[in-house]
Subunit: 197 residues, 2 copies
């Protein structure tokens, strides 16, 4: 069953040129997003074909862009931060596609317009059960019982914004414990729990 | 209780200059080691002060070098692969210290000579219970019962070598499931299990 991970990049650039030598600084914490992509998709030797990542690049200039990596079809992607950010950088040179239009740039690698609101609307149409990572939520083991496609929403290094919270107000909250973990660590734990069920 | 992670970098350079733009290629998979350091040490906002990483750089030229990051004392380290590899690169310009001599290069950041054999000898002296990550081992939840300092041995993207296996022949094996996970994902799961105990 497909596992979807939606990551919010509040300051991540949505267009233009990025500096691959400064992912954590002038590139708006693209290092955080790249580690999330790595951990959602890669096993030690191979790609998880049941995993999909959607990055939400909200940092401008211009309209927000969404980047999709689909494990089943990804080819030739290397697991290091620089390689993943380089792939994202290639999308940023293209115009942002219209909301609702998903354009393939490379095998398993797509982009589209829209924000988290659009992603959630798409997930609802696809019958996805959506969860928000929240230290105060219910225990993660609850997700094992669900027999529908699963979607998980994570923020980057910043808390959810007011606008994010408006979108996810009614979604279920799950907790991975009391520590505020890095996003890629949350993804590892979700995979681990689901791998064992 | 201190959590120690020993990572074997079979091809990681032990001296000389590294190319920060090619961590996954000519730098001997320093990307894998950097992600391990990130995940062992960093929370979303802060450093785990109960975690220590020892990288084993076995790729030459010259003698093997060990790099120590001690969460309790680390200052000013950024979590991205390039920043962590840059820190390692600074050690590589220095002569390899004698085995048994641990030299501090920056707060919480040390290097020393020696290989896994030396690390295990040090751990034995310190009363550390040592575990090797192995898909065929006993369930990870067993470690929660142990009331001694814990040490975990992981390989990079390659399996343990014959020489590694000679050292760890008698250590306990623990399993995180059937998938062969990336090293940093293993570290996340170990932290998660221990955080909950």
């Amino acid at each position: 069953m497909l596992r979807r991970f939606a990551i919010i990049g509040h300051r991540a650039p949505s267009s233009g040129k990025i500096n691959l030598n400064d992912l954590a600084g002038s590139s708006g914490r693209l290092d955080v997003l790249s580690r999330a992509v790595n951990t959602a998709l890669f096993l030690s030797h191979g790609i998880r074909d049941d995993s999909q990542v959607i990055l939400h690049l909200l940092g401008g200039p211009g309209p927000a862009r969404r980047i999709f990596f689909e494990g089943k079809n990804v080819r030739g992607l290397h697991p290091d931060e620089r390689a993943i950010a380089g792939q994202i950088g290639r999308a940023l040179k293209e115009p942002v596609p219209a909301i609702g239009q998903k354009s393939e740039l490379h095998s398993g690698f797509y982009h589209s317009g829209g924000t988290l609101e659009q992603t959630l609307a798409e997930w609802r149409k696809e019958g996805v059960s959506t969860f928000v990572l929240d230290a105060e939520g219910q225990d993660i083991s609850e997700i094992k019982k669900i027999q529908r496609p699963l979607g998980f929403i994570l923020s980057d290094d910043q808390p959810f914004s007011e606008s994010d919270l408006d979108c996810i107000d009614e979604e279920l909250r799950i907790s991975l414990g009391k520590q505020w973990l890095q996003g890629h660590a949350c993804i590892t734990i979700i995979h681990h729990v689901l791998d064992q069920s």
